[in-house]
Amino acid sequence: MAAQQGLLSASGRVRRRKRVNRAVESIWLLASAAAVAVLGIVTGSVLVRGIPALNLDLFTKTPVTFGETGGGIAHAFVGSLILVGLAGAMALPVGVLSAIYVSEFADQRVARGIKLTLDVLNGLPSIVIGVFLFTLLVVGRGQNGFIGAIALAIIMLPLISRSTQEVLALVPNHLREGSLALGVSKWRTILGVILPTTFSGILTGTTLAIARAAGETAPLLFTSSLFGDWISGDPGQAMASIPVIIFEYSEAPDPHLNDQAWAAAFVLITFVLVTSLLSRAALARSRSKLEQG
C-alpha cells in the first residue's frame, strides 16, 4: 500500500517509472517472440530434415532389412489410421452422451463432480493410461490394436466431452423452453433441437481430439508397440503407428532410419498443426455464432 501511495504522488520519478514500464513490456514482447521463434525453429527443422526424406516409398513400402536403404513405413500409416479411427469411434459416442448428461440431466453438484473427474482424467500422464491398460488387458494376453485404440480413446474422451459440454452450455435456453412449451418431450428436444445446433462444435472438438491422439506415443508403448514389419489391418494384433515408429527410429543407430523418422515427423506435424488450426478456427466461429443466436 505504501508503495502505491508513493507511486500516486507523481514526483520526479515519473520518468523512472516509465522506463521500468518499458523494460517490463519489452520482456513480455521478447518472451512472446521467443515462443514463436521456438515453434519456428522446431517446425523449420522438421521441414528441412523431413522433406528431403519424403518419397512415395515411405507411404507404400514396408521396412527393408537392416543395412539396406529404401523401404517405407506404410504399415505405420495404416496402423495409425485404424488405431485413431477405432479410438474415435469409441470416444465420440461416450463423450457426447456424457456431455449431454452433464448439461441436460445432472443436477449442479453431480455435474461439477463429473466435470472435475474429466479434467483429472485429462491431466493424467498418458504413460499411466498405457500402464493401466497393460495391467488390465495386456498381461497374459499380449498386445493388440484394440487395446491401443482403447488407450487412445481414454485420451480423447475428456477432450470430446468437455468441448461438447462447452457448446451445449452455449445453446440458448429459449430453444429448450420453446421446444418443451410446444409439448415436445425432453429426449426429442435434446436429440432434435439442441444437438443439431451443436453439431459443428462437436465436430471440431472431435477433430482436435483426433489431432491429439494421432501424436500420442506413450499410451501405445505398452499396448501396441511390438508389431511386425508388414502391413496389417487386423486390430487383433499389435499395430504399428506413426508416433511409435518415430520414437523407435529416432533412437536407431541407422541414419537412414533417422531420416525416415524425420519424414514421418513431417507428415505427423503437418497433420496435427493443420487439423488443430482449422478446428480451432471453426470452433471460434461456431462459438461466436451460438453466442449471438
Binding site: 521456438v38 459416442p93 488390465l136 496435427v272
Partner: protein, 325 residues
C-alpha cells in the same frame, strides 16, 4: 378425467404422455448417465488397476521403494529414488523457467498486443502446445542436444561453472539440461493459455480505474491483475508442473536414461515417466514389471495431487469472481 388439469396429481399428467416419450426420456437419461458415470469409473479403475498391478512390488518393497536408490533388474532389487530425484529436478527447473515466460506471454497477449497481433501470436503459442511430444523429442535428439553440447554447455560451464550444477559438460548423448529445456517448451503454452484466460477475466473497470489514477501498465498489472488472479496463476503453474512430471516420451529421448543421481545438470539422469517408457520392452520378471507399475503408481499419485489442487484453486477462484453463483 373431467377434473381441471391443475387438480390432477403430477403422475396423472405423466401417464397421459405417450409411451414412446416416457421410454425415450428415461432411456436417454439412463444412457447418458451410463456414459457419464462410466467415464468417472474409468478414473477409479485406473487407480485400482495400477495399484493392483504394482501389488507384488508394493508387498515386497513397501513404501521404502520410494526412497530406495537401487534399480537392479539382475538382482530384482528396485527403488524409485533416482527417478524421483530426476523428476523433481527437471520439473522444478522447467517450471522455474517456464512460469515467468508463460506469464509474460499471457500479459503480452492480454495487455499489450494489438488485436490483430494477439490473434496470430495467440494461435501460434497454442500450436506449440499441439506439437506431438515425440516430434519434440526427435528435434531434441538431433538439433537441440548437439547445439547445447557444442555451444551452450561449455559457455555456461566457463561462465558460471563455479556453481556445481553447471559442471563439466558431457561429450554427447542425453542430459538433464536438454530435458529441462524440452519440458520448458512443452509447458509454456499450457501455462500461458490458462494465465491468459485468467488475465482476460479481470474486470475492465478495475484496470481503467488503475490507469485513471495514472499508473503505468506494469504498475496496473502489479496492483490490479496479479492480486486479482493470484490463486489462478498458481493453478496454471501447477497444471504446467503436472504436465512436466508426466511427460514420458520426449524426456526419454533426450535425458540419457542413466540410473544414478547426477551431480550436474549436464549429466544423464532419468525421471519416473521416462523410466517407465524406456522399459516397455525390457521387463522380464514379474517383480520387474510390478516395479515399473509401482513407478506408475507414484506418478499417478503425484498427478492426482497436482491436478486436484489446481482444479480446486481454479474453482475457488471462479467462485470468488462470480460471487458464488
Amino acid at each position: 378425467m373431467d377434473a381441471p388439469v391443475s387438480e390432477l396429481p403430477p403422475h396423472a399428467l405423466a401417464s397421459r404422455r405417450r409411451l414412446s416419450d416416457r421410454v425415450g426420456d428415461t432411456g436417454l437419461h439412463l444412457l447418458t448417465a451410463a456414459a457419464a458415470f462410466g467415464s468417472v469409473a474409468v478414473v477409479g479403475l485406473i487407480g485400482y488397476r495400477v495399484v493392483y498391478g504394482a501389488w507384488p512390488a508394493i508387498q515386497k518393497f513397501g513404501i521404502a521403494f520410494v526412497w530406495h536408490q537401487t534399480w537392479d533388474p539382475v538382482k530384482s532389487n528396485f527403488g524409485a529414488l533416482d527417478f524421483l530425484f530426476g523428476t523433481a529436478v527437471t520439473s522444478f527447473a522447467a517450471v522455474l523457467i517456464a512460469g515467468p515466460l508463460a506469464i509474460a506471454i499471457a500479459l503480452f497477449l492480454t495487455e499489450l498486443a494489438p488485436p490483430a497481433v494477439r490473434g496470430v501470436i495467440g494461435s501460434l503459442v497454442e500450436m506449440l502446445a499441439a506439437v506431438p511430444s515425440v516430434v519434440l523429442g526427435l528435434w531434441g535428439i538431433f538439433v537441440l542436444s548437439p547445439f547445447l553440447h557444442q555451444h551452450v554447455e561449455p559457455f555456461l560451464h566457463r561462465a558460471i561453472g563455479f556453481i556445481p550444477l553447471f559442471g563439466e559438460p558431457s561429450p554427447g548423448g542425453g542430459d538433464m539440461f536438454t530435458a529441462i529445456l524440452i519440458l520448458t517448451i512443452m509447458i509454456v503454452p499450457i501455462t500461458a493459455s490458462v494465465s491468459r484466460e485468467l488475465f482476460k477475466s479481470v474486470p475492465a473497470e478495475l484496470k481503467e480505474g488503475a490507469y485513471g489514477l495514472g499508473l503505468t501498465r506494469w504498475e496496473m498489472v502489479r496492483g490490479v491483475v496479479f492480486p486479482y488472479t493470484r490463486g489462478g496463476v498458481v493453478a496454471a503453474v501447477l497444471l504446467g508442473m503436472g504436465r512436466a512430471v508426466g511427460e514420458a516420451i520426449a524426456v526419454t529421448q533426450v535425458i540419457g536414461g542413466l540410473t544414478s543421481i547426477p551431480t550436474s545438470l549436464f549429466q544423464s539422469g532419468d525421471t519416473l515417466a521416462s523410466r517407465i517408457a524406456a522399459q516397455y520392452q525390457a521387463a522380464a520378471t514379474n517383480i520387474h514389471i510390478a516395479s515399473i507399475v509401482y513407478l506408475a503408481v507414484v506418478l499417478l499419485a503425484f498427478a492426482l495431487v497436482t491436478n486436484l489442487a489446481a482444479q480446486v484453486i481454479v474453482h475457488r477462484f471462479e467462485f470468488q469472481r462470480t460471487g458464488g453463483s
